[in-house]
């Protein structure tokens, strides 16, 4: 749509896992586009495939049970899935960094914070030259200061177990940003933290990415976080992107029945009781329902939904939804998620 080049483009990604009983067809043609400087949210619930998608981007899927029969992932124009391991190493950590849900599990308990940060910085040489130990140390200190951690020198000597959950997550954020990545993938960054701490960490993250103009993909199942932290949101269900829109637009005008159901399911501070949520459960990926994967749970399912998979229809201003309800209103049409170019 705009003139800025695409930072990330996922096209028609399919991922299968081979298990007892057959193949889990987890990702069913996932698409996503992102420009530099954007903060994109990816909302979905347990089992929708968002973590699988992220792991596919960084190519850390366990490849014997997992397989990618189809699809491309373009980072700055080059297909990650076709890269050699050398090229991939350049991308990981430098081009794309990731923060995980549980900072305790992400940090190695037997190494000090400093040792772990050194390792990260050391493996991303600046313009091909290895950094000196002093440079690495200074960069580590600077990273910790940027994440508002007091007394970075002492912290570098500490071990993860000596830090609180919030501090550990900040260390992970500092580590991820220390190499100056262009894209940061944050997988449920606040979920394992207390609410008040989560609020602090998320505000920090927002400030940092604004300062550094880092692009962010924020994965979460909490709608409230997406509303506060992102410019554009993808909603994912059962291995498909079902809706994408600017954040304000999505919250004021959700279109897909799943998105609507999700919004209604969130209990409100203003009261009003708890809605029954969305009936049913996520599909069995061994034998996913034909047609639209959401149709068994959809209150508006029509004949066509049972047999055909909806394409992605563009409604109005950059709001896309993969649902036959909007086929007639469409302005243009794409192939399941992502802009059609």
């Amino acid at each position: 749509m705009s003139a800025t080049p695409l930072l990330l483009e996922i096209k028609n990604l399919h991922v299968h896992y081979t298990v007892y009983g057959g193949q889990l067809k987890v990702l069913d043609g996932v698409g996503l586009v992102m420009h530099t400087g954007e903060r994109v949210g990816l909302v979905g619930e347990t089992g929708c495939g968002k973590t699988t998608t992220m792991k596919a981007i960084l190519r850390v899927l366990p490849m014997p049970p997992a397989g990618i029969p189809q699809g491309e992932i373009y980072f700055k124009g080059r297909d990650i899935l076709k890269m050699s391991s050398g090229e991939l190493r350049q991308v990981r950590g430098r081009g794309i960094s990731m923060i995980f849900q549980d900072p305790t599990a992400a940090l190695n308990p037997v190494f000090s914070v400093g040792q772990q940060m050194d390792a990260v910085i050391h493996h991303s040489p600046l313009r091909g030259k290895a950094r000196s130990r002093r440079e690495i140390h200074q960069l580590a200190v600077k990273s910790l200061q940027e994440v508002a951690l007091a007394d970075p020198e002492r912290l570098l000597r500490s071990y993860p177990i000596q830090l609180s959950g919030g501090m550990r997550q900040r260390v992970c954020i500092g580590m991820a940003l220390s190499t100056g990545p262009e894209l940061l993938i944050a997988d449920e960054p606040g979920t394992s933290l207390d609410v008040t701490i989560q609020d602090q960490v998320l505000r920090l993250l927002r400030t940092l990415v604004e300062e550094k103009n880092t692009s962010v993909i924020l994965i979460t199942h909490t709608l409230g976080i997406v509303r506060e932290m992102t410019d554009r949101v993808y909603v994912m269900y059962a291995g498909n992107m079902v809706e994408v829109a600017a954040t304000k637009e999505l919250f004021s005008n959700p279109l897909h029945p799943y998105t609507i159901g999700l919004m209604e399911a969130v209990p409100r501070l203003t009261g009003g009781g708890v809605s029954d949520g969305i009936a049913g459960r996520i599909p069995n990926y061994l034998a996913p329902p034909p047609g639209c994967r959401f149709h068994p749970r959809c209150p508006h399912a029509m004949e066509i939904c049972l047999s055909e998979k909806p394409a992605s229809y563009t409604i109005g201003d950059d709001h896309e939804v993969a649902c036959f309800l909007y086929q007639a209103d469409r302005v243009s049409q794409g192939n399941g998620g992502g802009h059609d170019r």
Partner: protein, 303 residues
């Protein structure tokens, strides 16, 4: 919310149970067969067991496993009549190996049968009563047994008692049980603090239920994995015992004794010692591969 009348008959419930059991077995088999080497191990072990059971009927010279001498045909190299050659008395080595396998496997099975139930029970008790005198007493006794060098203990016991297969098994059992106690103890201590144990306690379940119905099932996978690898170890220790003369007595064949006797004839009549040694290698390898498969079978599925 209306409660419907019982919508399923007792018969349907039985049917459900049968189906789910079948599915669980199928799933376990699937996990086991993921690794080809585990299947190879299984085939090896099953073949060895069958061989041992059917020894008198499948070996070419079953009589050679008893008192038998044939000096004119002694120390003959491998040939068509004697694929593994003959030993210093003229007995067919292949037949003797198969019979020796019998006593080795028997030792493995009997020792584990003797060792696992008490060892596991003590570990469960010590773990459940962690922090009390029961824990202290059991684990200190276990420590004492573990502190004595195993072979010395086995030798001491075996030399006090009259040397025989049975007494050899007793000796090995005496030094083997603490490993199970320790293994299960560690697990029981952790499992005891799991929420499902708390849930059972809160409902009013007594120690017997908690130990045997909540904790034990969670230790079964480690126990079985260890058992499948232990058989190999018991066989080796048993061979070591008979190597020094404290296990099966001649003329009954035992892999260890055969190696001991044959060592003297290396390197010229190498087959007398080498083939029994290879037999031990094959047995140990088979059980280890099987053990890997057993462990995989219990592993949680990735997705």
């Amino acid at each position: 919310m209306a409660h419907q009348a019982l919508a399923v008959t007792a018969q349907q419930i039985k049917q459900l149970e049968r189906e789910s059991r079948r599915e669980n077995l199928g799933r376990s088999w699937y996990k086991f067969t993921r690794n080809t080497m585990s299947v190879v191990g299984l085939v090896m072990v099953v073949s060895l067991i069958l061989l041992a059971i059917l020894a008198p009927w499948v070996t070419p010279y079953p009589k050679h496993a008893g008192p038998y001498t044939d000096f004119p045909h002694a120390k003959q190299p491998p040939s068509w009549q004697h694929p593994f050659g003959t030993d210093q008395i003229g007995r067919d080595i292949l037949s003797r190996i198969v019979f020796g396998l019998r006593s080795s496997l028997l030792m493995g099975i009997v020792v584990l049968a003797l060792v696992v139930p008490p060892g596991v029970l003590l570990g469960l008790l010590a773990g459940y009563f962690h922090g009390t005198w029961i824990d202290t007493v059991i684990m200190r006794i276990t420590d004492i047994f573990l502190a004595v060098p195993p072979l010395i203990l086995a030798l001491a016991v075996a030399s006090v008692l009259r040397p025989s297969l049975w007494n050899g098994m007793m000796a090995v059992s005496l030094m083997w049980w603490p490993w199970y106690t320790r293994l299960v103890y560690g697990q029981a201590v952790t499992l005891r603090n799991e929420y499902f144990v708390t849930a059972a306690e809160v409902t009013g379940a007594g120690p017997a239920h908690i130990i045997f119905r909540e904790i034990l099932p969670n230790t079964v996978s480690t126990i079985l994995t260890k058992m499948s690898i232990d058989i190999a170890w018991v066989i080796i220790i048993g061979s070591m015992l008979s190597f020094v003369g404290l296990g099966v007595q001649p003329p009954e064949p035992s892999l260890g004794t055969m190696i001991a006797d044959g060592a003297r004839y290396l390197p010229d009549q190498w087959w007398i010692a080498v083939f029994p040694a290879l037999a031990i290698v094959v047995v140990v390898l088979g059980f280890n591969l099987l053990g890997d498969g057993v462990r995989d079978m219990f592993a949680a599925e990735e997705i």
